[in-house]
């Protein structure tokens, strides 16, 4: 889910100011408290982005002028967000224990990892689930371990064997009813297939400390690349939190640009990094020009072929079109056919878990894709 960020007006200016809090070059705003309707719009956007903690920080730092009533509202919503985040962190520890017991290598990724890895205060980065990247060669073992520990898979595999060969992730409800996403890859579609997931495990893991325990996370360059893929290809319009992740990493992490370049050249993802930086500039209005990464990836235009492929990740039916576009990255005619057949003819359990009949599934996909025309 993502929100459309207001393009102009007091709410847009305030939103940019809050979302760019403490980032170099971000605009600041001062003035009287927002009117009630504007305030409601700001609050709705920050809630949808799970950035209530960032809003509270903006109030605490005086970046945002609020009435006493608005301050209390911010306090309440930020506390509610903190409660959710803490419950999810407890689930991180649970998942880590399950995977460790099954001897499956993993890396904590996305929200919980980024909140503790790159943000100066984890309350600035809310999240909605637990994301774990597992060793792709042990995918089936990881799924078995999570289910054996009491989690329930929410959407069945599209076809038998699809996940281990082509899948990106699987979503589970833990015994405490928190959402757990096991990831096998970074994103759907061609750019996901071009990533060599084994490389993500090649370098020694860094760690974050949660509840007194150290959990492995990706290296700094891999973390940056993943954040860019999430920002550029994950949602349309992009999540502000994902854009902020990219900016936080650029401003607060020492990146080896040669390593970043080497990774994305091998993964054909240079254009993804370029687009992510463009989006950060556009939505957060921060200046990346002086950063090493900004200088390395910010100046060249994006190639036409990449524009075409990245367009499949945007607009109505993008879940279908990006997966369909993935066929260009699959090697071998037999594999391409197997992939396309799986997408076109899902097994019954997958359709049931999504509430579709076979005909209804095709109709839904067709309507969504037709909405692009």
């Amino acid at each position: 889910m993502s929100m459309t960020v207001p393009a102009s007006g007091a709410v847009a200016r305030t939103l940019r100011s809050v979302c760019g809090l403490d980032l170099d070059g971000a605009t600041s705003v001062s003035g009287p408290p927002l009117e009630e309707s504007q305030w409601r719009e700001l609050v709705a956007t920050m809630k949808a982005e799970r950035l209530e903690g960032l809003l509270a920080a903006a109030v605490a730092k005086g970046v945002l002028t609020t009435t006493a009533e608005q301050t209390n509202a911010v306090r309440e919503m930020a506390r509610a967000r903190a409660r959710l985040d803490l419950m999810l962190e407890r689930e991180c520890l649970w998942v880590a224990e399950v995977l460790k017991s099954a001897s499956v290598a993993y890396r904590m990724i996305k929200g919980p990892a980024l909140a503790h890895l790159v943000y100066p205060d984890p309350s600035l980065r809310g999240f909605g689930d637990v994301d774990v990247l597992v060793d792709p060669s042990r995918w089936d073992d990881a799924v078995f371990a999570i289910e054996a520990a009491g989690s329930k898979r929410l959407v069945a595999e599209i076809r038998q064997g699809f996940d281990a060969r082509f899948g990106k992730d699987a979503t589970f409800a833990s015994p405490r009813n928190c959402q757990i996403d096991l990831h096998r890859g970074l994103v759907f579609g061609p750019y996901g297939f071009w990533v060599d997931a084994d490389e993500l495990f090649a370098r020694a893991a860094r760690t974050i400390t949660l509840g007194g325990r150290e959990l492995p996370v990706l290296g700094p360059e891999e973390t940056f690349v993943y954040a860019c893929y999430s920002a550029a290809l994950g949602d349309d319009p992009p999540r502000i939190a994902a854009l902020r992740d990219v900016a936080e990493i650029i401003f607060r992490t020492t990146l080896d640009v040669e390593v970043v370049t080497s990774l994305v050249c091998r993964w054909r993802g240079v254009a993804v990094i370029q687009r992510a930086l463009q989006l950060v500039r556009r939505y957060l209005a921060v200046d990346l020009g002086e950063s090493v990464v900004g200088q390395s990836f910010g100046r060249e235009s994006i190639a036409t072929w990449d524009r075409v492929l990245m367009a499949t990740y945007r607009g109505p039916g993008r879940g279908y079109t990006s997966q369909l576009a993935g066929v260009v990255a699959i090697r071998g005619t037999a594999s391409k056919m197997r992939y396309l057949v799986s997408l076109a003819f899902p097994q019954r359990s997958y359709l049931n878990s999504r509430g579709f009949t076979p005909v209804g599934f095709v109709g839904h996909a067709a309507r969504r894709v037709r909405g692009r025309i």
């Binding site: 903190a82 803490l86 962190e89 520890l93 205060d121 509840g211």
Partner: protein, 114 residues
């Protein structure tokens, strides 16, 4: 630093009968448990001991106390830091002891007997 049940502070508390157990514990010192998960929101702290099945709970206005508990401190040191220049009253001392006792019971803080 406040501790009230008026809708803001929600540290899981004992019954009134349990509360009487908060006797003088001046020989004790407290620090944050390593296993507690927490967030600071403005001057509040939200806590969740990771090894418990509790729901997260808030320590309204507790940011300063939580900051002090980064290191092991006894009651006198906590009172001196929280209420500088103010003569400690029995009520204030008892309230703080009760709060620490509640936090200890949830697993949010560790206690050491000297």
């Amino acid at each position: 630093m406040a501790h009230s049940d008026s809708g803001r502070t929600v540290v899981p508390r004992r019954s009134r009968a349990g509360a009487t157990a908060a006797v003088d514990r001046s020989s004790r010192s407290w620090r944050r448990s390593d296993s507690v998960l927490w967030r600071q929101i403005l001057d509040d702290v939200v806590l969740l001991p990771s090894e418990s099945d509790l729901d997260p709970f808030a320590l309204a206005g507790g940011a300063e106390l939580w900051s002090l508990l980064r290191e092991r401190r006894d009651l006198s040191a906590l009172i001196a830091s929280l209420y500088p220049g103010v003569q400690s009253s029995e009520t204030r001392r008892d309230e703080l002891l009760l709060l620490l006792s509640d936090l200890e019971r949830t697993g949010a803080v560790e206690v050491t007997e000297s």
